[in-house]
């Protein structure tokens, strides 16, 4: 899923400073699961903004709404009436949701309240880790299901760099495992280390022509 993090409060305050009536729009899918932009987080941010005005900052009115998926126009359409009531929208969805909202309501400024960070998974309660770089040329069949493109800090394809720390930790962070040590251990367990001994030529970094656009084949 897509992982995001709430922006710092001060940055949000600066973005919305010129506006008096705001819609805080959440998304109930990925960003809800990573505690960044679901219904609960919309409620928390709305309370913080209301608290601001009780502390003497300017007067604003805040509406709250959360849709199932903010990256789908049909679902964002449900918000039309509310959007018409406000000066601006503060979206707590991922970048894709923010842009869908902005495209649907072109006459309203739409601001991001979160930073979209990566595609990942929850490793444990409250900790999410990056898993996929959406490179368009999946390599996981050769690496025991561990992606070196994003889980190696340098995206190396032919094994670990020489900067690995003692115990198989990453050069840039002793808290992170060297992806190539993880790959080595996984492949060793499966008796498939030959895969690691193979030479992998330079990757096609243009597998997805950016900006990405995929047309489904006709059913």
């Amino acid at each position: 899923m897509i992982i995001a993090e709430r922006k710092p409060m001060e940055e949000i305050r600066q973005m919305i400073a010129p506006y008096k009536k705001l819609l805080l729009a959440g998304c109930a899918t990925c960003v809800a699961v990573c505690w960044a932009g679901g219904e609960k987080e919309v409620g928390i941010l709305a309370s913080q903004l209301r608290l601001d005005q009780s502390k003497g900052r300017k007067k604003i009115s805040v509406l709250e709404a959360t849709v199932e998926r903010q990256c789908e126009k049909e679902m964002v359409e449900e918000l039309r009436d509310k959007v018409q009531e406000v000066d601006a929208v503060l979206s707590l969805a991922c970048g894709s949701g923010v842009q869908t909202m902005a495209e649907m309501f072109e006459d309203k400024p739409v601001f991001p309240a979160v930073n979209t960070t990566f595609i990942g998974m929850p490793e444990r309660e409250g900790l999410w880790v990056e898993m996929c770089g959406a490179c368009g040329d999946c390599f996981l069949d050769r690496t025991g299901g561990i992606c070196p493109i994003v889980r190696c800090a340098k995206g190396l394809l032919n094994g670990p760099c020489g900067g690995m720390r003692k115990g198989g930790k990453c050069e840039i962070d002793p808290e992170k495992d060297c992806a190539w040590v993880l790959i080595y251990r996984r492949l060793e367990k499966q008796g498939r280390l030959d895969l690691m001994r193979e030479y992998y030529p330079p990757k096609n970094y243009r597998a997805v022509k950016r900006p990405g656009r995929i047309q489904a084949a006709k059913a």
Binding site: A153, K154, G155, L156, L157, N158, G159, P160, C161, G162, G163, M164, R165, K166, G167, G168, E171, I172, D173, C178, W180, V181, I183, Y184, L193, M196, R197, Y199, Y200, P201, P202, Y205
Partner: protein, 297 residues
């Protein structure tokens, strides 16, 4: 004129290279000083490529200075700052100006350097970079286009004999050897046994490649601990840190030279490998003293 490095590798019993780290800025007087001091005392001078991800005068720039001053340069190329187009172009440039030794490295992460917000490249990794040099050597570019005026580089790479765990590193070394390299300059080694274990492995894959052991003299316990925490791939063992901690104040550099010289002598006497690569970071002017203490001058 210096003897071509590839000839030295074939003919000399014990090969010695040293590192020349470019300065930050366009003033090359210190680089020239180091070149003049070392060019006739070692067989090749490596020039680092934005070492530790810190922006500096370019490797190729100092390599050209070495050529101009009659030394033998080894161009270090990392994969961090340039994509495949830029690397190929730089190699053509280097070769056209007489720089024909290249050391292929991955490069440190942007995170350890002084431009921490930069976009890091790593379009290629070090194994792919070695293949790239061979492709250029064959007269074609990576896209398969013919080159008008090819290149012929003597190719080297690096390895970390003290990596833990070692096996994943060795798999990569094997890929580098199979890609084809003339020499390996290892990361700093402080334990002879680790170096022996590494050279034994290399010999099972490639009997021809020349192995130069990386020598980084440590001049104090504090520096050693700093290096262990901050310099990727460097592991100074605790017994050396303890030895340095007991050295009298003001004798750190001399002690560091003494320890490094002992290591070099052992490597040479026991024929552990084919030579040494000296990285006396920030103290290039003391390299002759180390060479003398090692019996190499």
């Amino acid at each position: 004129m210096a003897t071509p490095f590839r000839k030295i590798l074939k003919t000399k019993d014990f090969v010695v290279t040293a590192e020349a780290a470019p300065e930050k800025g366009s003033n090359v007087s210190k680089a020239i000083e180091h070149i003049e001091l070392l060019k006739d005392k070692v067989d090749g001078l490596n020039v680092t490529d934005n070492q530790s991800s810190v922006m500096r005068y370019p490797s190729l720039g100092v390599c050209l200075l070495i050529k101009e001053h009659g030394g033998e340069p080894i161009l270090q190329v990392t994969c961090r700052d340039r994509n495949r187009l830029a690397i190929q172009a730089d190699l053509l440039f280097a070769y056209s100006r007489g720089v024909d030794n290249v050391l292929c490295l991955t490069g440190d992460s942007i995170d350890v350097g002084d431009h921490k917000e930069a976009k890091q490249v790593f379009d290629l990794d070090s194994v792919q970079l070695i293949h790239l040099v061979h492709t250029l050597n064959s007269g074609k570019d990576m896209a398969g286009n013919e080159l008008d005026g090819g290149i012929d580089f003597c190719i080297g790479t690096t390895a970390t004999p003290s990596a833990d765990p070692l096996e994943p590193q060795l798999i990569k070394v094997e890929k580098k050897l199979k890609a084809g390299v003339n020499f390996i300059q290892t990361q700093a080694v402080y334990e002879l046994d680790e170096l022996k274990r590494f050279t034994e492995f290399v010999r099972t894959v490639d009997g021809e490649v020349k192995i130069l052991a990386g020598i980084v003299p440590v001049i104090g316990a504090k520096m050693a601990m700093y290096m262990n925490d901050n310099v990727p791939g460097v592991f100074v063992p605790q017994h050396l840190i303890d030895e340095l901690a007991q050295a009298q104040k003001g004798t750190g550099v001399a002690k560091g030279i003494e320890i490094a010289a002992l290591m070099i002598r052992q490597i040479r006497e026991e024929k552990v490998c084919d030579g040494v690569h000296i990285m006396f970071i920030g103290r290039e002017e003391r390299v002759p003293e180390l060479l003398e203490a090692s019996g190499l001058l």
